[in-house]
Amino acid sequence: MPVTTVLGKVVRRAALARGGGSAFPGLFVERLDPSYVRRVLATLPRGVVVVSGTNGKTTTTKIVVDLLESQGLRVFTNRTGSNFVRGVAAALLGAVDVRGHLPADIAVLELDEAHAVHFVKEIAPRYCLLLNVMRDQLDRFGEIDHTARMLQSIARATTEAVVVNRDDPRLGAQVFAEGITGPTLRSYGTSAALSASFPSDDNLYGGSEGAPHPAPATYVDDTQLDSVEGDRAEISYAGGSHSAHLMLTGVYNVLNATAAIALTRAVLGGDLREPQMLEALSKVRPAFGRGETLQIDGQTCAMVLVKNPAGFRLALSSYDPADTATMIAINDNYADGRDMSWLWDVDFASLRAGGVTTVAGVRAYDMALRLRYDDVPVGVVTPDPERAVEEFLRSTTGQDKRIYCTYTAMLAIRKVLGTKGALDKVVA
């Protein structure tokens, strides 16, 4: 272990010096010592938590980490956003000391569905949190029933407790629960009053109404989001209702916070210190590029990452476009997904009144075409996101701004905003 650690750290330092990403040192370790990640993680006294699902992994993982830290736990996580196995290896190299010792009590890992399936064969998680199954990257996964089966295999490999979103028609189904016999099943979800704010994939596609339903009887515990008003949420568990203030925007992020509470309760059990958890919840900031709000020349500029139709629709229903200049940037690089079909599954009518000032990205014309068919007025259309955002900022002086963007477009836009010093002033 020390040999791999030292060599890995050398490679990591070299890669960082060259401005490289996190994957290469991870690949190096994977080749040199394939069981390295398993052996290091096996030393953690409270084991491994895997967070997976289509939407909200990064934000939820961040909240889970903050909540567990509020309980005095030392948490290792793959913060870089590189959620492949070798991304975990790379993150480990940054965290271990030279003797290969990981100074942490528990690991919280965000893993993409397909990678998680392989990861859990190597390393059985003690806990997992499964968020939802939406149409996303069908160019990779084929169909959503297949995605649900991948999440089920993660749950089956879990040893202690599985926490699932009971309102998701696939994860909350009796048949899903029946396939999981080892770990304890726990759930989270919303009150009936909130169901309209959280359409399931089936609702989005004209399928049967997926009204919130109680978890199957085999579930031992439930955490429920009862109401959201402004920045205040009411969340109930263990027979009591709890009020929390949140800095997170977007109703779906409040549901992610509910999921994180359910998971934290599963990990801590009777040792949970509730005031500390709620205090930490009120201080959680949005994850990188996910609903971050920046301050630019006295106006706010919100960045909203959109990766799939469900996420885009939830974002549009979460944020009021009135009095806000809107930009949309759509790339189709590998990390974004090459298939543009999903833009046709998003209803853009809510942008009709104010229009979209700037449309950018490799697929700017696909996006502009989509908006045209929803009768949404479009201003400038230009493929280069960096030039587009410069122009967008110039042309909307004095207005609040919101930028919806795919992953690689977000990176490009963030670079431009970074040069304006705006990123140091995250306000929410």
């Binding site: 090459r338 079909s341 046709w344 697929r363 014309y365 068919y373």
Partner: protein
Amino acid sequence: MSRPVRILQLYPRDMNIYGDWGNTLVLKQRLAWHGYDPEVLDYNPGDAFPDDVDLIVGGGGQDSGQIVIVDDLQKLGPRLHDLAEADVPMLLVCGLYQLFGHHFDTVDGRRLPGIGLLDVHTVGGTTRLIGNITTRHPDVGDLVGYENHSGKTYLGAGAQPLATVVQGAGNNGEDNTEGARHRNVLGTYLHGSVLPKNPRLADRLLAQAVDNRYGEFSPGAVDDRYADQARRVAMSRPR
């Protein structure tokens, strides 16, 4: 003067996997832009089939969605054959394209019966044929889109291909054909969706539908600049 044209969506609940709504929306909007009054009707399993239908669109589904609709589609078969012989235009993408053929043999050995309106049959494959695709249609030029299917479709002697493959896999990745047609019934693996970026194909379907009903079609002027540019970009992207 009101000039209604009725578009029927076939099985939107179960056969609407990814972007299929785009085709309906394009037909609906272009009808309005051409000066007609579109009406969109849904047909799901067990519904009464409407009397007046000018144009039919159907999309793709998961394997589970196909199993839900396959019996209902069998009952609808004779009706759809009659409509096809009456020159009603239909556009079937992916899953319903497969089930408008003779049969679909799944990877796990089941045979899903089709309605045989198109002289094709489909065999489930183990690798998915996925990526940006460009094909050439004999009349409307290049058709661009995105394909994502594991079924491989083979044309019988009675089917014409819709287009020939320029870049991509098409029906089966072997014979360079894409899609199939019989009269005005078109099957294709292009989703993406197919009609937004191929407005000439959309207008052909509309012209036939309107002509059937009113005896003539007088198109309006539609601005397709974004579509033209989106097509160019799509053709230049990696598979």
